[in-house]
Amino acid sequence: MGKEFYRLSAGEKIFKVVNYLLIIALCLSIILPFLNIFALAFNPGKDAERGGIYFWPRMWSFENFGKVFEAANIGQAFAISIFRTVVGTAASVFLTAMAAYALKSKTLPGGKFFTMFVFFTMLFSGGIIPYYMLLKSIHLTNTIWVYVIPSLYSAWNLIIIRTFFQQIHPSLEESARIDGYNDFRIFMKIILPLSRPVIAVISLFNAVGHWNDWFTGAFYVRKAALRPLSTLLQEMLTSAEAMRDTLNQAAGTNYDMIERIQVTSNSLKMATIIVVVTPIVIIYPFVQRYFAKGIMIGSMKE
């Protein structure tokens, strides 16, 4: 604000202050619930029962995390989430970028047709049931590959990356071609290194998508050992609610038991939420500086 602020008219001053206050309020609406979860996750469940824990733990403890890791086979779920995020993202971004480079070419015979072929899948799909039947018939359901293979390509990402490639000056490619580079080498040695911002943003979107996807694990996988973290959390949320309902419906006969179940399921839930959210919050600041650029590219297409 500074000196300039005093020169403004009264109305403009009020406008400015209200503006800042509203934005601060919005930010608090995001931070405070997370702090609440954080406080409950790091506070022993028995003590939290007494209530009065808002934005900071009353006494620090890793008890809930210990319980979560031994009870809910969360370690395995974590490993599966890491696997699908790392392998799935790396494979998908590389393959999608490669296809985007091929479709960028203006001289490729059939290029226009193939672009439309990919683009159309964004407008129309067979829907969830035929898709499920397909996954079943090629034996992808109930395997770890159902997390990786069906999301190898995304038409939307392909088009964003292609748009970025189209803006790279063609002279670089031309001179490489004169030096005897083939298309694949040009892609690897020239195009990819020049495309760091778009690759970073698409990788982030992709990784977050993998990390957050609970649907695949919930509906295409039956083996409990193959559940990723997000699905585990989703099951915890739904089953805890369901359990509470049935118990409440049982005429509240045994309040003590209801309390106990709520306490344990609550602290488990909170700790699991922290485990799910932490990796995203850690990686987020590093990739954030690429946002503006990456999103501008996406929006230009629109």
Binding site: M1, I31, S105, T121, G126, Y153, L233, D245, Y284, S299
Partner: protein, 316 residues
């Protein structure tokens, strides 16, 4: 793909020329091949699977071998007592997200545009974009906690102010729309404002200078310069989002659904999952999904045509 001049050549020469061109691009074809195979398998074969909507699916006979039932499933859906409620719920929820929600990201972008303190802008933007990257599973987990009866933050605040702090917000149908809209707002407003901010930063600064010379107030500047300048962006984004009118957001609604709010929160997407994946009525669920997909496609095509006429910008 033949060029204009090549049509004058004899067929075998055209073929040879094309073949030569294809050979020249062989690396590109190798790079593209897995992509095309992928979309054939994972997008086009399921489109063929839409045949299910007209078949009485028998597990041992496969999709092609199962007997035809014609439009049976469509009739069943339209005559079922649920269909009206489902379509109504879907339209209300997506309508709220399309119309009611529309001005808020624009307002936020305008608010950010007035902030001159750099660090404050950076920090608050980082915080406001964050929920976009948090899954609905976590968001609903937060909601369950914050809105929990007795022990949740909101109920503690209410009882702290002397009210009754035992409301089970997630179960009460009368709070459903607030929770649904509020959580959508909370999760999306920051991220959705980015595109409008980009549009605002593209406004010619000379116009503001001229307005200042004429003694225009800040509000006049926003009303007469900024808003008209970003109208094309707003219109295009709005028209294109019309195509989603029949999908009101599966993740959010599936997870927010409780026995208490079911009558308002059950939408086409959740219904398809329930009757299809959970109770195995594959043909029927495919038919309902197909209705949704076809209407969506028609709307996108129409919206694109309108957008091309109105603003000379279109998806294709």
């Amino acid at each position: 793909m033949s060029q204009g001049s090549s049509s004058l050549l004899k067929p075998d020469q055209t073929g040879r020329k094309l073949w030569k061109k294809v050979l020249e691009h062989r690396y590109l074809y190798f790079m593209l091949l897995p992509c095309i195979v992928f979309f054939i398998i994972f997008s086009y074969i399921p489109m063929g699977g839409l045949l299910l909507a007209f078949k009485d699916y028998k597990f041992n006979k496969g999709i092609l071998g199962s007997p035809w039932v014609g439009l049976e499933y469509f009739k069943t859906f339209f005559s079922s007592y649920q269909s009206g409620q489902l379509v109504k719920n879907t339209l209300i929820i997506s309508g709220m997200k399309l119309f009611l929600y529309l001005p808020f990201p624009i307002i936020l972008a305008l608010m950010f545009n007035e902030i001159r303190t750099r660090w404050f802008k950076n920090v608050s933007q980082s915080i406001l974009y964050l929920p976009h990257f948090i899954s609905w599973v976590v968001v609903v987990g937060l909601l369950q906690r914050v809105l929990a009866p007795d022990t949740g933050l909101l109920n503690q605040l209410i009882s702290g102010l002397g009210g009754d702090g035992s409301t089970y917000f997630m179960m009460e149908p009368k709070y459903f729309y607030q929770i649904m809209f509020g959580s959508h707002f909370w999760k999306s407003i920051g991220w959705d404002s980015i595109i409008y901010m980009a549009a605002i930063s593209g406004v010619n600064p000379d116009m503001y200078e001229a307005a200042k010379m004429d003694g225009a107030s800040k509000f006049r500047e926003i009303w007469n310069i900024t808003l008209p300048s970003i109208t094309p962006t707003v219109v295009i984004l709005f028209i294109l989002s019309l195509g989603n009118i029949l999908s009101a957001g599966f993740d959010q609604l599936y997870l927010l659904r409780t026995p208490g709010n079911m009558e308002l929160s059950d939408i086409l997407d959740t219904y398809i999952i329930r009757v299809g994946l959970q109770s195995g009525q594959y043909g029927y669920a495919t038919a309902v999904g197909m209705l949704q997909g076809v209407i969506g496609l028609v709307l996108v095509v129409l919206a694109n045509r309108i957008s091309r006429k109105v603003s000379e910008t279109s998806l294709w």
